[in-house]
Point group: C2
Chain length 335, copies 2
DNA sequence: AAATATGCTGGAATCGTTTCCATGAACGGC
DNA sequence: GCCGTTCATGGAAACGATTCCAGCATATTT
């Protein structure tokens, strides 16, 4: 298709044109020691020939690709999009490319993508893990620098640093707010893999002396359809529920839609709090009270961690914040 | 940090263990000709040693990286997130990694990212271009396979295939709908780089015999702040405007927010149509009438195009669709 | 049966870089 | 003035794959 006549200029060309050896060129360009005269000569020649070192040669020699592999469940979800944005923003300042993969929260797909990453000899990976230790063990043994973002792997992999939002605190504040409004029958609409949030939820209820009812914790898969089904099912099966906490913005969206469809008014009939603040939360009718998540920060800090050379903290916890809008009201029995 | 004791198994190890030459192993693994016996032997040995060919060696020899470079203005914008999702989804089925860069609609950043891509010897790029021919010319001359998605470069680069939504049709339908409701003072809230949509807008007005007023076309930069400022400014400066068409979902969000802030009711005071259907459009109050964009399809088709070997169509145009909800009403003078 | 065609095979070159190592020059201390 | 140290330098060996090419065995043709 494309002729692409002229060969790319290589380090050899520069060495020849500058009258020095390739080793010297390489040293000058990567900051090694060289005499001032030589340095200048090489730099000038490189600029004149418009030489850009090829990452291919370097990577092969160094036996690893630069750059970061990023694995998220769903790039379409505003939360993960913002997380990715944070990673990309940090990586850009280091000039490192980022390879993105979408796992769909499916351990099998995640495993496939990990395979691709290993094939590319990626040695830095940031992931929102779906699979357990079994999936991640080979990666770690291959010497890849892994950072978990937003959640840990189910099975404990203590050596992997993680950057997390303070779910426990966010949930506690939200539950306190709801119980303060008189609510006792509070449901949690969770996505699979949010065990940590669920634990925080039941913990907070217990701490406040509210009995925990297992059937009020409902799980959905990652898709919008599944989220909607779970939300509608919850509202229909439990007419006595007066407040709902949703584990993410997709679930929140589903809850609003389902409530509207079932003619359950928010906040008159049920109060609603959503995990993760998104731009549309304010536009929604009613504007949604949310537990804001520092998604962009999580991404940025993860990237810093994975790019930093030295030893790294085992865990970074970033604050969540309850943003009160208009989707919660005092408890009123629904029937 | 990590010992990573054992060396990665290479093609040489496999060759030795199977008692054949490296050339034969390579041929078997990449589908070349080999006798049945040899093939089986090699395959078995490779599996036994858990051999995975390194992309590094292959890339160097082939003188280009596999995989796709994807450049979008803002991954946080639902439209581009869905576009990226389409690309990722197609790329996954080919097993090709995707490297994502965020340009912020800034030609300079775009140029930097292109530099990174070239350094990586990426030979396939999908981009929502911000810069003009000057930025893209070096890439094309380097023999990179480029596909433009969602919009073309300002300067005409006729050799680059593009996958686009049918903006002209979408705008025409929307404008016809609005004029049908009696609107004459229709504003367009555009982002820089949406010249095509603006042209379609003025074209549609002219075709319907509505005079075009240049000051009713307002431009904003990519950020949310800039979008809000532009929206608020428009509503304040032109109280006679009775309908607004926004060039994207960020601008639509800004318009809803600004209208609410300025106590301009939708659709009573102004009718609003937004480019791009997003999940929250239905949740908004009022639910927004939108010109739905096949973002995911655009991404998917772009990836198909950039991955396909043979000759490719110069342009793929995907349909837009007007989705009528509740943000438009009959014209009423605002004062 | 000789000549030619066909097909499998492995050695070696190659891709573009980094880095080890040997060389030689300059330099300072005794 | 000699020796040890330091420093800049370039040749050459990796890195791990693909692929050209020559060699050889077997099948086909004359």
């Amino acid at each position: 298709m494309n002729g692409s006549g002229q060969r790319r200029t290589t380090i050899k060309d520069v060495a020849e044109a500058a009258g020095v050896g390739v080793a010297t060129v390489s040293r000058v360009l990567s900051g090694g020691s060289a005499s001032a005269g030589t340095r200048e000569k090489v730099l000038a020649t490189a600029a004149r020939l418009d030489y850009h070192p090829s990452a291919l040669g370097r990577n092969l020699r160094r036996r690893h690709t630069g750059g970061i592999g990023l694995l998220v469940p769903d790039i379409t979800d505003s939360f993960y999009a913002r997380l990715a944005d944070g990673v990309l923003s940090c990586a850009r300042s280091y000039g490192e490319p980022v390879t993105v993969g979408v796992t769909g929260d499916d351990p099998e797909r995640e495993s496939e993508l990990i395979g691709t990453l290993i094939e590319q000899s990626m040695d830095r990976v940031i992931a929102v893990p779906s699979g357990d230790g079994e999936v991640w063990d080979p990666v770690l043994r291959a010497g890849v620098n892994v950072v978990f973002a937003s959640r840990r792997s189910d099975l404990d992999l203590p050596d992997v640093p993680a950057v997390l939002a303070d779910d426990r605190d966010g949930v506690r504040t939200a539950v306190e707010y709801l119980t303060g409004l008189g609510h006792r029958k509070i449901a949690f609409l969770a996505r699979r893999g949010q065990s940590q949030r669920v634990a925080a939820f039941t913990g907070a209820l217990t701490a406040l002396g509210v009995p925990v009812e297992d059937e009020l914790v409902v799980h959905a898969r990652a898709s919008r359809d599944s989220a909607y089904a779970a939300a509608a099912g919850l509202l229909q099966r439990h007419p006595d529920v007066t407040a709902v906490l949703t584990g993410g913005n997709i679930l929140g969206e589903a809850a609003v839609l389902a409530a509207r469809e079932l003619d359950v008014r928010v906040p008159r009939d049920v109060s609603l709090i959503m995990f993760d603040d998104v731009p549309w939360a304010e536009l929604c009718s009613p504007p949604l009270t949310v537990i804001a998540q520092p998604a962009q920060d999580i991404g940025y800090r993860s990237a810093e961690l994975v790019l930093r050379q030295g030893r790294r903290p085992r865990e970074v916890v970033l604050p969540s914040e309850l943003v009160v809008r208009a989707s919660c009201g005092p408890r009123r029995p629904r029937r």
